[in-house]
């Protein structure tokens, strides 16, 4: 088991930083390139949500926790921003609160599709936490058989 914690400002240039940090942290689990792509994309979606929706472009802290457990990578990404009043609605594909900004409304759908497990907890006015995990190294395990 390994674990890391990172706290960074909700600036868009930190998206590439966050997704590459998580990908680098996951490397000991021998992920396939496609699995790494999935993880990078899911992290990018979650961090985008913190920046665009949680803090609405303002500055705040984003906290990222990663933990490995066997071949599982757990990721937790949290902001202390506005929160989501109706999580059920936010999870619908193509649902967006900012239709005028060319938002696709696909962020949560992509996180759910690309990761093995996914959950979101939120409280209006307090912030949002996304937890997701993925089993990595599928191809390496196949090769070893």
């Amino acid at each position: 088991m390994n674990e890391m914690y990172l706290k960074f400002l909700s600036r868009s240039e930190n998206e590439v930083f966050a997704r590459n940090v998580v990908a680098a942290f996951a490397l000991p689990l021998s992920p396939t390139l496609s699995e790494l792509d999935d993880v990078r994309t899911a992290v990018s979606e979650a961090v985008t949500n913190c920046i665009v929706h949680g803090y609405r472009g303002g500055e705040g802290w984003i906290e990222l926790v990663c933990r490995t457990e066997g071949d599982l990578l757990h990721i937790e990404i949290a902001d202390s921003g506005r929160g989501i009043a109706d999580v059920e609605q936010a999870l619908q594909p193509f649902y967006t609160t900012l239709p005028d900004e060319e938002r696709s409304g696909m962020g949560f759908t992509i996180m759910q599709t690309f990761m093995t497990d996914f959950s979101v907890t939120s409280e209006a006015g307090r912030g949002t936490t996304v937890r997701m995990s993925k089993r990595l190294g599928a191809k390496a395990a196949d090769d070893a058989r």
Binding site: S12, E15, V16, S44, I51, E102, S104, I110
Partner: protein, 102 residues
Amino acid sequence: MRTQATRRGDSLYIYLTGELDEHTVAKARAEADAFIDGAAGMSRAVFNLAGVRFMDSTGIGFLIGRYRRLQKYGMTMCLEAPNAGADKILQISGLYALMPKI
């Protein structure tokens, strides 16, 4: 993120290079729109994604936005050469129904 364009026949080819996310999208949007606005009379725009090393759903929003802009000019839109990661997102979001992969 870099955006370049060439014309071949009645098609405008827009080449995107780099990582398309919340940080890079504004510049890509402005550059792509300048090429589209300068392409009056052409019939379609082909977005070549071969150089896009990464994109998330911000890229989906970007492509839908350009699609709508092209519609105003009566132009169609196609995508070509997405890498495996981009292709997966494009499929999941159903974007190929609006802008086929050629």
